[in-house]
Assembly symmetry: none
Homo-oligomer: 187 residues x 2
Amino acid sequence: MNQISLEDCAEENPSLLIVDDDTVFCGVLAKAMTKRGFQVICAHSIGDALSLCESAVAEYAIVDLKLSNESGLVLVEKLKTLDQGTRIVMLTGYASIATAVEAIKLGATHYLAKPVDADEIMAAFERTSGDSELSISANPLSVGRLEWEYIQRILSENDNNVSVTARILNMHRRTLQRKLAKRPVRE
Amino acid sequence: MNQISLEDCAEENPSLLIVDDDTVFCGVLAKAMTKRGFQVICAHSIGDALSLCESAVAEYAIVDLKLSNESGLVLVEKLKTLDQGTRIVMLTGYASIATAVEAIKLGATHYLAKPVDADEIMAAFERTSGDSELSISANPLSVGRLEWEYIQRILSENDNNVSVTARILNMHRRTLQRKLAKRPVRE
DNA sequence: ATTCCCCTGAGACAATTTGTCGCATGGCTA
DNA sequence: TAGCCATGCGACAAATTGTCTCAGGGGAAT
């Protein structure tokens, strides 16, 4: 595939903030993005990220949804507050429609499910709403996937409280814990 | 639990546009929403919906993603162009993260996967970004119940062919057989 | 009529997933 | 500090699934 370039940018080397608690992943991605012309900085927690942004807010950001016990969503919100123009791509291994909706509403530019490669992230940064012809998938979600999406939705509607969600869903907390620990069903 | 009310609205009966090519679903939903105080109008295609909006744009809208061979996404875009204030909930039996992201970027207020009930839609209209405090989840379906509803839908969409449905749902035919043999109850 | 092909119901048994309990930790509040 | 609740996680039994297999029942093409 062809590389998507950011040559059009006024800046020579746009700044990019990568926030993920997985240091290995962070490193790999940092390298790939540096090669694509970004000036990369990494952070592994919301606190780290914010202090790094004190001096200057990054123009681009890649934020993981699940940061240890914090939610990347709050970081998205804060980054957007600091600078409306920041383009943020949310990344996660536990993708769900519920969190995707939240992320976009909070101002994320795009939302991608891991695994992703650097080119996909580049494309996500470039994307503007409506410019893609989305073919509507003809096949419904698998039951496993449906369950995952539903659980994520109820969970987010209940402030991520596992115990409450388990009670509402009429399932055992232990079971919910185990389901949440797994990756969403491959589609 | 307690019903979510829209009493706060200036209007006595806010107008609601429902767009779905499934006339049966449309009818059922229209009835449910009327009971909840909306002045409901139904449309079964983008063209219908737009001509209905010529005189006055609805304050609320429920749009199905898959309208025959059209995409509900373009309708979302148009409705938002006509009136930025319209609150739109996107609905679909073919949910995906990609379309959810697109819908929100185009201005939809929320995005829900079928099956849903009227109370969930009410909650979606109420919901504002990031704010999960007023989570007044009515009485969501239990996961078991959700699965049952979903299976029934896919099954009927496939002419009650158990084998085909099992493949689509990515589950074993034997398992589907067993689930179908059980009572639909379990709330 | 016979052969394919696909659907269906159902038994049996192993592989997984859940239901339950229990326990330790940590935050919040009276 | 005690009481309450949420959370993570180990352990083991109970229940559900995954697999395989067999025995029909149409329908369509030969």
